[in-house]
Every structure is written in C-alpha cells, then in structure tokens.
Symmetry: C6
C-alpha cells in the first residue's frame, strides 16, 4: 500500500496535455511527501513562486517527469 | 479537460525548428501554470533575462523539453 | 555483498506507485551512504525541509531515479 | 515559419564533431531567443565566461543538447 | 591505458545493489580525477557532507550514473 | 571543418574506461571552446578544484557526457 496509489494508478494518459498535468501533479505530491506539513508548504509557496530561479527549478522538475510520462505513452503516437 | 489542451494537442511537429519552438512554449506555459499572475511574471522577467545564470537555467529547461519532443518525432529522420 | 542488497533486490515493482516509493527510498539511502551519521542527517533534515530550493532539489533527484525505475518496469504497460 | 528554420533544418550531421558544434550553436541561439538584445548578451558574456560555475552551467547545457543530437544520428555508428 | 581501467572494466553487475555501488564509486573516482590531491579532497569532504545542498548534489550525480549502469544491465530483468 | 574534428572523430571506444576518459575530455574541451583564453581558464581552475560544489558540477557534466558515450557503445556489451 503506497501513498501514491490513488495519485498514479497508471502513467498512461489520453493526451499530451493530460500527461503534462500528471507530470505537474507528481512533482507536487513528491514535495508533499518530503514535507508533509501543509502549513509549511503554504509558507514556502509564497517564497518560491515569486522567485524566478525557483520557478525555473520547478519547471525543470516538471520537464523531467514529463520525459518519463511521454515515454510511457510512446509519445502519444500510436 | 486540461489547461494544456490547446497548447500541446500533439508533440509531433513538421521540422526540428518547430519542435524547438514547441519546447520553448511548453517551458514557458509550465511556469505560467505554477505562477498564474501575469503581472508577477512580468516583473520576474526583467529580473531573469539580464542574469546569465538564470538565462542558462531557462536554456537548460528548453534543452530537456526538446529531448522529449525530438524523441517523439523520431528525430525527424523518418 | 553490498549495503544496498536488502534495499534494492530488484527495480521491478507491481505498480507505478510502488515504483515512486522505491525512487524516494533509493534517493534517501544514497544520501545516508554518503553521510552515514544519523544525527547529522537529522540536523540537516530540519534545514532542508523548510527550504523550497532544497525541497525541489530532493524532488528532482526523485524524478531522475523514477525515470530509471519506470524504464525498468517498461512503464508498467506490459 | 520559425526563427530556428535556418539554424536547425536537420539534427543530422556528418560527424560527431559537427554534432558537437550544432549542440553549442543550438544552446547559444536558445539564449538569444530568450534575450534578443545583443548588447545585453554582450555584457552578460563578460560576466559568465570568467566564472567557472557559469562556464560549467553552459557546458552542461551543451552536454544535454549533444545527447539529443547524438541519438538523432544513431551515434554516427551506422 | 586509462586511469579507469581497474575501476570500470565493465558496467555489468550481478545485481541492482552492486550497480548502485558502482555508480557511487564511478562518481567518486571522477571527482578524484579532477582533483587528484587527496588532502584537499579530505578537507572538502568535511565541508560537503554536512551541507544538505551538497549532499543532494552528490546524490543527483549518483542517480545519473545509475541510469547509465541500469540501462547497461538491461535493468537486471533478463 | 570543426574544432572538434581531432578530438572526437568517433564516440566509439574499446572499453568503458576509455569511454570515461573521452567523457572527461569532451567536457573539458567544451569549456575551452566557450572560454578560449588558456590563462583565464588556468585562473578559474584554482578556483573550482578546491570548491566541492564546483567539483561536483564538473562531475555531473562528465556523468551526462558518459551517458551519451555509453549508449553509443551499446554499453560495451556486444
């Protein structure tokens, strides 16, 4: 039984757009697993989403997660 | 229904050049999803585009997104 | 005989969720291998889990480990 | 019509050396797309090319771009 | 004749655990190649292994090396 | 005609060890291409090789270059 069971039952999505949403969700939930306290995460949020370096750091994680999901879906080409 | 539906209906492009444009667009829209306030993004822009480390951070994200898109298009070789 | 023998007898998991848990576990144990002193790690924890840049750094490592595990499991599609 | 049309009509090169040059060129042009003002880029250059961390940041981007180009060329083995 | 001859005669290992050990060893030896002075490395060690950002930087390198080794071993599935 | 012609006529090496040396060499020559002034590079060297974060940054680039070379050589398994 895993905390991620409800979140990622599968990596397969219907469209690239849904795959992108999944990448963002997985990235966020991983942070929430490492720092489970929602109040602290809330405070951190106001910190990072107005800082371009941190926003890009988040963007890079999403890019890496999307690589995995896109490969899982054979790039939605078949 | 996803915010990305109109943005990335497909990862397939006609040319490597269009694939590169798509990589840049996806990277930008992901940042916009994380920080939806356009005014804040505008302020951040004047911050990062005159800072070589941040410009390169953006360049690296584009490089990672392009890896995915290039693989999806079988590197435009077939 | 390796320290990791009990930790990663295999990269194969039943579900993506378990694969994600494995990615987090491998990332943590690698840090523990580099810094074996649990007291020091405990002190460092209070440092990094309230720092958004460091939390994202941890998230990025998990994303990279998950790429490997997802590929090992053929993305749980077969 | 894309700004990159003249720059990357193809990812295919005759040799690994030319592939490496292409990787460097693509990395540079992406930065130029994000910051189109050549004067600002000129000022930034004197900043980053005497800073080892920034030089390595540039080197890492080239390494990532080269991964894509090398795969596109089947590593120049066939 | 290479400095790495004795270290990595092969990327093939019997188990994922041994592959993980190899990834850590390769990462360490590469640093030792860049900075061959063991005394300086000893001093640097006390610096980085009590700094969470640097520990994670080391963890990320291991994750990248492990990707290569896991692929070389076909993820130990055959 | 490329500056890299003599450096990387091929990505194929006889052994993983030689592949590792090639990865280090390519990483170094790319930095030298971006900053061609050997005197400046010499000064920067004394800066980065006593700084653990920068040493690891160099190690990470080598890890990425090695991924490409290892794939080119089919991981030296055939």
């Amino acid at each position: 039984m895993s905390l991620f069971d409800d979140l990622i039952p599968t990596l397969i999505t219907e469209t690239p757009a849904e795959g992108r949403e999944l990448a963002i969700m997985i990235a966020r939930k991983t942070i929430a697993t490492i720092q489970p306290d929602a109040d602290i995460r809330g405070e951190l949020r106001s910190d990072y989403d107005q800082d371009s370096a941190k926003l890009m750091q988040a963007g890079q994680i999403v890019a890496i997660e999307f690589q995995t999901i896109a490969a899982a879906n054979n790039y939605w080409t078949s």
